[in-house]
């Protein structure tokens, strides 16, 4: 070892094979999305739809969105949680290799049958996602399927899926069915409960019931047998994944390394399934659930992943988080001219987002610089105070905020650019939902990268032992303020989204209780784990809306916090690390149970100064 750096100089912008593959995938993904959203064709010219799809303006947006999404989805972090995968441990056999292992006759039969099936499935699926008035499943419709441009998109997707599935199946040559492991049973149970609870929900359209697969009756998601194909596909892959063995030696993978053996196919399938749920499923929900999806779940997912940076990554207890949310919302009101205090210029809500980010971030830094020298409980008290200050200002400073009377009307999101005119109408919650997704998905990926980067590790180090971290030259204050500011700016963005959708702001939205609620989402889901936090937000925000309508077991809205409190107590006794804990957090909890280390409720250590 030498003291000098021995890494050879590499040009920063040179692309390797992986990069090229990623870019190509992204472009193809963008094209598929563009075609899927394009207009219909005509009898005389079946490809008319594709052509117009690619020429019309609105497709450009979808294309860019698809490319960005594709880039993010196919980006593979080489280092996950510090475990370095230097080389791929098992060699993957390519599809062609596997197919050539068959005798030639079987190969052709296999290819012919599967291709036909896949094409048929894609056509039918495209049909069902087409105009709802159509007479589904008649051969007449199938014949003219190619008039719909989205058909082409589904065909491409289906072929890609088919490749993945065949490849996956081929690799499981030594597959043996053993007794089902508990995760599979758990998953099955959750799915069953979800499906049955959804079907008994009166908020869904009347046709949304558990009837025979009558193709003429319904446009509902669960009425399409293709949906069940998706589900079966997902379940099959999950099972085979859990039971998989090494294709050559037949050995079971080591439990420890489970997270590392996720094959690219698995990853792809997961993304496809998630993409389906996120992009397709909401279209079939009733208006009530579409509104909930945005206002109750989407906004809170954003808030939760923001607070997760502060609480989960950096281990700081922030009880005034809602203050930054309120700031974002009131900044939106200000620049929309909805406050008594008129702005120098009115802004489109899209341009308010950067302002909200900057203002929330600045206030985070200003609050953080003096207070983050404090530890644990003291910080909680200061942030609690800050939250109250913002609430009282919003409520009582009527010359600036209109106080408890509420603000004036806030402008909707709108685009007037290069001949494109589109206004996000509050009556159509789906338009807002997709906009929210467009912010949420990049944010999830960016924060995940952050957690697995130097910055994330540094936060973990500070959380574990601040003195040791400082002895390595880490500026603990800087990193804590950074976490604080990033959490604050995320809340600012969520504030903009809320303000624009709700239209009028009332100070009593931004009370302490909301801060606690967001904190509960984070703790319930699993601090420090983005998937966990999202899961917590979805479950805990969906459940009250659901229970509220049904009044199951005499449930009343006023009792909500009673139940949430009880839930938290039970959680802390039986599963203190949260529903889907992060790997680091899991270790901390396990260690402290074994008497090692000192994971307290927040993972912030309370060691005193060395003496």
């Amino acid at each position: 070892m030498s003291t000098e750096s021995t890494v050879p100089k590499k040009r920063y912008w040179s692309l390797n094979g992986d990069d090229v593959r990623r870019i190509c995938t992204a472009i193809v993904g963008g094209l598929v999305l563009a075609i899927m959203t394009g207009p219909e064709g005509a009898i005389s010219d079946p490809t008319y739809g594709v052509k117009t799809s690619l020429l019309t303006r609105h497709v450009v947006g979808y294309f860019i969105f698809g490319v960005v999404l594709g880039c993010l989805l196919t980006y593979r972090a080489k280092v996950k949680d510090g475990t370095w995968r230097r080389v791929r441990t098992t060699r993957r056999r390519t599809l062609s290799e596997l197919v050539t292992a068959f005798s030639s006759t079987w190969r052709y039969v296999l290819l012919a049958v599967t291709t036909f099936l896949v094409a048929l499935i894609a056509l039918i699926f495209a049909d069902f996602s087409g105009p709802v008035t159509r007479n589904k499943m008649s051969m007449h419709v199938l014949e003219h399927q190619f008039l719909y441009t989205r058909t082409y998109g589904y065909l491409v997707l289906a072929v890609a899926l088919w490749l993945v599935v065949v490849n996956q199946a081929m690799q499981l040559t030594s597959f043996r069915l053993r007794s089902l492991p508990r995760p599979v049973l758990g998953l099955g149970a959750v799915l069953a409960i979800l499906l049955f609870s959804l079907t008994s929900d009166p908020f869904l359209p009347a046709r949304f019931s558990w009837r025979a697969l009558d193709p003429h009756a319904s446009n509902s998601l669960f009425h399409h047998w293709t949906t069940y194909l998706w589900l079966i596909l997902g379940l099959a892959v999950t099972i085979t994944w859990l039971l998989r063995r090494d294709p050559i030696t037949g050995a079971k993978p080591a439990r420890r390394s489970r997270a590392l053996v996720v094959t690219p196919e698995m990853r792809f399938l997961t993304y496809v399934a998630a993409g389906f749920i996120v992009f397709e499923a909401p279209k079939y929900l009733s208006l009530y659930w579409q509104i909930s999806l945005y206002q109750q779940i989407g906004v809170f997912c954003l808030l939760a992943i923001g607070l997760n940076i502060v609480v989960g990554f950096a281990g700081l207890l922030d009880l005034g988080y809602v203050a930054f949310y309120a700031l974002g919302a009131y900044v939106t009101a200000y620049f929309s001219g909805a406050l008594p205090l008129q702005p120098p210029f009115h802004l489109n809500p899209f341009f308010i987002i950067p302002f909200a980010i900057i203002i929330a971030m600045l206030s985070g830094v200003l609050l953080g610089l003096p207070t983050l020298r404090l530890r644990g409980d003291y910080l909680a008290i200061v942030t609690l105070g800050f939250g109250e200050i913002v609430y009282v200002l919003a409520n009582d400073w009527t010359q600036v905020t209109y106080g408890s009377a509420g603000t004036g009307a806030i402008t909707n999101f709108n685009v007037h650019l290069l001949g494109i005119n589109y206004v996000w109408n509050p009556v159509n919650p789906l338009s807002y939902y997709y906009l929210m997704i467009g912010i949420l998905i990049p944010a999830i990926f960016l924060f995940d990268f952050l957690n697995h980067s130097k910055v994330g590790r540094t936060w973990a180090a500070i959380r574990e032992d601040e003195v040791a971290a400082q002895s390595l030259g880490i500026n603990a204050l800087k990193y804590k303020v950074m976490a604080f500011a990033m959490g604050a700016s995320t809340a600012g963005v969520a504030g903009v989204f809320t303000a624009v959708k709700v239209g009028h702001l009332f100070p009593n939205t931004f009370v302490l209780q909301l801060s606690i609620t967001i904190l509960v989402l984070v703790i319930f889901g699993g601090m420090g784990s983005i998937v966990g936090v999202l899961f917590g937000a979805i479950v805990l925000q969906w459940l009250p809306s659901y229970l509220n309508f049904h009044s199951y077991f005499g449930y009343q809205q006023a009792d909500l916090y009673l139940y949430i409190g009880a839930l938290l107590v039970v959680m802390m006794i039986f599963r203190p690390q949260g529903l889907v804990p992060s790997r680091r957090r899991r270790r901390e909890i396990r260690d402290s149970e074994e008497g090692l280390g000192s994971a307290d409720a927040l993972g912030a250590i309370t060691q005193d100064q060395p003496s």
Partner: protein, 267 residues
């Protein structure tokens, strides 16, 4: 007490906690590339001296100058601990302080990364520099683990390491920051004889191969006498003797300080 090329110059440092004087007019000079050992009975102020040298404690009087290179000099007193570390002073702790929930590899990597420039934006977007630095820190961490002979523990959690391995991990983590001087606070405490031997060999390797100056606090006299080129003896917060191992062993003052306190001095 002047020197051509010192790395640490401590002049008349006095540190008090309320009425208790922990360090009293301590002066010492460490030469560049030297293994200097600070010994003394319990409570003599050794660890307090270390904490002053790393900026954790603020002495009331005196000055501490650190020379990262022959031409540069840095005043330690009044500097925040992380800035002292950035200047090239690395340390280990008396009771080992690992990042327990992280793996051995991550522990070292954090040390290596502490001086890298990647910020949150670069980390989120995985800008080319971030990737470049990540690659470097991975490679460097592996090198360091190899250097301290912990390769077989790469993915073990820090808190499940045996005591001797923890000590070496702490040294590897400190080496990751590319220090000019390494402060070791009782590295051999709680290790068995064979681990002690390996540790002594590691310390002298760090000194000779990497050219890092070492300031060592240690109670094990055998280890100290075999490693240190020069010794400083503290008692009741003051320097009572200074010299080569041979001189110290014969010094009546040192023998007096140690008599009754421990048996080690008589060996």
């Amino acid at each position: 007490m002047t020197s051509a090329d010192p790395i640490f110059e401590v002049k008349d440092v006095t540190l008090r906690f309320g009425g208790v004087t922990s360090l009293n007019n301590v002066s010492l000079i460490q030469e560049r590339g030297e293994i200097l050992s600070v010994i003394g009975p319990n409570g003599a102020g050794k660890t307090s001296l270390f904490n002053c040298l790393t900026g954790v404690y603020l002495p009331q009087e005196g000055s501490i100058t650190f020379h990262p290179s022959q031409t540069k000099e840095i005043k330690i007193v009044g500097r925040a601990p992380h800035r002292v570390a950035q200047a090239g002073v690395a340390r280990t702790f008396q009771t080992s302080r690992m990042f327990n929930a992280l793996t051995t590899f991550e522990n070292v990597k954090i040390g290596v990364e502490a001086h890298q420039k990647t910020g949150p934006i670069g980390a989120m977007l995985k800008l080319p520099r971030t990737r470049h630095e990540e690659k470097f820190s991975d490679q460097r961490s592996h090198e360091l683990l190899e250097y301290v002979d912990l390769t077989h523990r790469t993915n073990t959690l820090a808190d499940s390491l045996p005591y001797g391995d923890r000590r070496r991990l702490e040294i590897a983590r400190a080496l990751g920051t590319d220090p000019k001087v390494l402060l070791l606070d009782e590295p051999a405490a709680g290790t068995n004889p064979s681990e002690k031997l390996a540790l002594a060999e590691l310390i002298s390797r760090i000194n000779t191969e990497l050219g890092i100056s070492i300031l060592l606090i240690e109670h094990d006299m055998k280890l100290v006498m075999s490693l240190a080129q020069r010794l400083i003896v503290l008692n009741f917060g003051g320097v009572i003797a200074e010299g080569t191992p041979q001189e110290i062993q014969e010094s009546p003052l040192v023998i007096e300080a140690y008599l009754g306190a421990s048996d080690e001095a008589t060996q």
